[in-house]
């Protein structure tokens, strides 16, 4: 399993250092993203609460403005709507798109704009029902302002939603994939390095033992030779170094 | 309210009445001389030689003619309103036929009186000087006056019943409780014609063309 969830690296000390640095970066990033997600979430919650509030308010405002229209129609007659339709020329009410920055996320916001130009609508209903018509107009402008606000909120909501999703994906990716992977890699590298160390130790031990044995043998031979010289010349005892005992190869691995 | 607002008919009636009144006064003031504006002596001769039969005939025709005119006038005033009102309230037609019948009654008065008068009418021969006997002249005038009385009484009575009947139809269509109340008014209006008839009958009662 560990082989699956780790980076394919050669377990060396250098690599270990690199991975460790990456892990550090990932943790830091994770923390930061967590913070960003929190900030966005706070904003998001605020936007949500406001959307719910504004939406209910919108229901009320729209109802009011619809009723104002009823009053206008009551006073000025049903035909007034045709007059209104025919008086449409250029929009006076517009919106401006601006952006707001929340934790590095650009949120589009709309601003209500009224170019204030003298409108033909002002004269509508001059002879009959002018007042309710103007009331209706004011009510509808109010409704529009509210709707623009709501549109901003809604767009913010969508943008925030997207941003939060991305951020959360990143946080989760860091938390659940990258960091475990790095950690696994570190553990793996550490394990491998330990193994190597242990092998080396064992080998050193072995060499030492061999060396000690050889030394002992050599000493014994020397003692024998000394004794042979002393006891009969050493013609036969003059052992040849070359065809002496088999000298084992010394193995230096690694 | 200027004089033009009164309406042309009223205006002309007023003019004609005032002119004839002035002429009448003028005639009365200087009646003694023969070259007066109105020569009353000559006028007497003119009327004295009129055949009583002509007068009675005129009386009969006025009795029936004016009564029928009044009745017809009343019926069309009532009738047009009745028909219009009955479009939305068909229930009123049978009840409001009473108004039409009242108008019709006016014509019947006229017919009755006319028959009465016609049966009295006889031909008389004139005297030698072209004059007629006093009694036949009186009978002629009586029948003429009787006819005129009945005729004019029935004319206005018919119009009156017609106008009230029209209102009656309109009110009944709106509120059926009003019918009886307005009917009472209509009955009063209708009685007017009867007054004329009574007087007419009394007037002609003693008319005798020939001295017995």
């Amino acid at each position: 399993m560990s082989s699956n969830n780790r980076l394919p690296v050669v377990p060396t000390v250098t690599v270990l250092a690199i991975i460790k640095a990456r892990l550090l970066g990932a943790t830091k990033g994770h923390q930061l993203l967590k913070k960003k997600a929190d900030a966005l979430n706070i904003k998001f919650r605020k936007v949500l609460a406001e959307i719910v509030k504004t939406k209910t308010e919108m229901g009320k405002t729209m109802k009011e403005s619809a009723f104002e229209l009823t009053q206008a129609k009551y006073a000025a007659g049903e035909h007034i709507k045709h007059t209104i339709f025919d008086n449409v020329e250029a929009a006076q009410v517009k919106v401006k798109a601006v952006t707001e920055n929340v934790a590095g996320v650009k949120l589009p916001k709309f601003q209500y704009l009224n170019d204030g130009s003298e409108s033909k609508m002002e004269m509508t209903g001059l002879g009959k029902g002018g007042q309710p018509i103007q009331n209706c107009r004011t009510a509808n402008i109010k409704a529009i302002q509210l709707l623009v606000e709501l549109a901003s909120l809604q767009t913010s909501f969508l943008a925030l939603d997207e941003a939060i999703k991305t951020t959360n994906r990143r946080v989760n990716a860091l938390e659940n994939v990258v960091i475990p992977k790095l950690e696994n890699t570190i553990t793996y590298i550490k394990g491998e390095l330990d193994e190597l160390e242990r092998e080396e130790f064992f080998r050193l031990k072995k060499i030492q033992a061999n060396k000690e044995r050889d030394l002992a043998l050599k000493e014994a031979e020397q003692a024998m030779a000394l004794m042979g010289d002393a006891f009969g010349g050493g013609g036969s005892g003059g052992s040849n170094l070359v065809d002496g005992d088999h000298d084992e190869d010394q193995l230096f691995t690694s | 309210m200027g004089i033009t607002e009164v309406g042309p008919i009223a205006f002309y009636t007023w003019v004609i009445c005032s002119i004839s009144f002035v002429l009448f006064l003028y005639g009365v003031n200087i009646s003694s001389t023969s070259d007066s504006f109105i020569d009353w002596g000559y006028l007497y001769q003119l009327f004295a030689f009129v055949d009583p039969y002509l007068l009675s005939g005129l009386g009969v025709s006025m009795a029936i003619g004016l009564s029928v005119l009044g009745a017809a006038w009343g019926i069309f005033i009532t009738g047009s309103s009745l028909i219009g009102a009955a479009v939305k309230a068909p229930r009123i037609t049978s009840k409001n036929l009473v108004s039409v019948i009242f108008c019709e009654a006016v014509a019947i008065y006229g017919v009755v009186v006319a028959i009465l008068l016609a049966t009295k009418t006889e031909t008389v021969n004139s005297l030698e000087n072209g004059d007629y006997s006093a009694s036949s002249k009186a009978a002629g005038y009586a029948i003429f006056a009787s006819g005129a009385t009945v005729g004019f009484a029935n004319l206005v009575c018919g119009v009156c019943v017609g106008v009230v009947g029209s209102s009656c139809a309109l009110s009944d269509a709106q509120n059926s409780a009003l019918f009886v109340k307005i009917l009472v008014i209509e009955i009063f209006g209708s009685a007017l014609g009867l007054f004329g008839v009574i007087i007419g009958v009394i007037l002609s009662a003693h008319a005798r063309f020939k001295d017995e």
Binding site: L48, K55, E68, T124, A143, I144, A151, L158 | -
Partner: protein
Amino acid sequence: MADPSATNSADGLMIAVIADEDTVTGFLLAGVGNVDARRKSNFLVVDAKTTVPDIEAAFKDFTTRGDIAIILISQYIADMIRHLVHNYTKPVPAILEIPSKDHPYEPEKDSILSRVTHMLG
């Protein structure tokens, strides 16, 4: 997320309306309406004679025009073209479902609000 067309943003973007006659009348009275030289308007009156393809066409037109920032659409009309509204994800122009006077506002149906309530739990 950027402005769809830089040229128009200076003097503002328009608000488009797809709604029943009375609602549109109200908004026109407020001065939302715009009819340009080519007789193209930024509102659509939906009555008994308006067909769903008409609404769809207008919706698509408004979403792609570039000089419109907000589209107000009556909720019952949004229901007619729900598939389009649901699949629409761009933030600008923003789609806003509004109540109409004879169709009381139903928050459950609103694409956005259903998500909102879902998130608030």
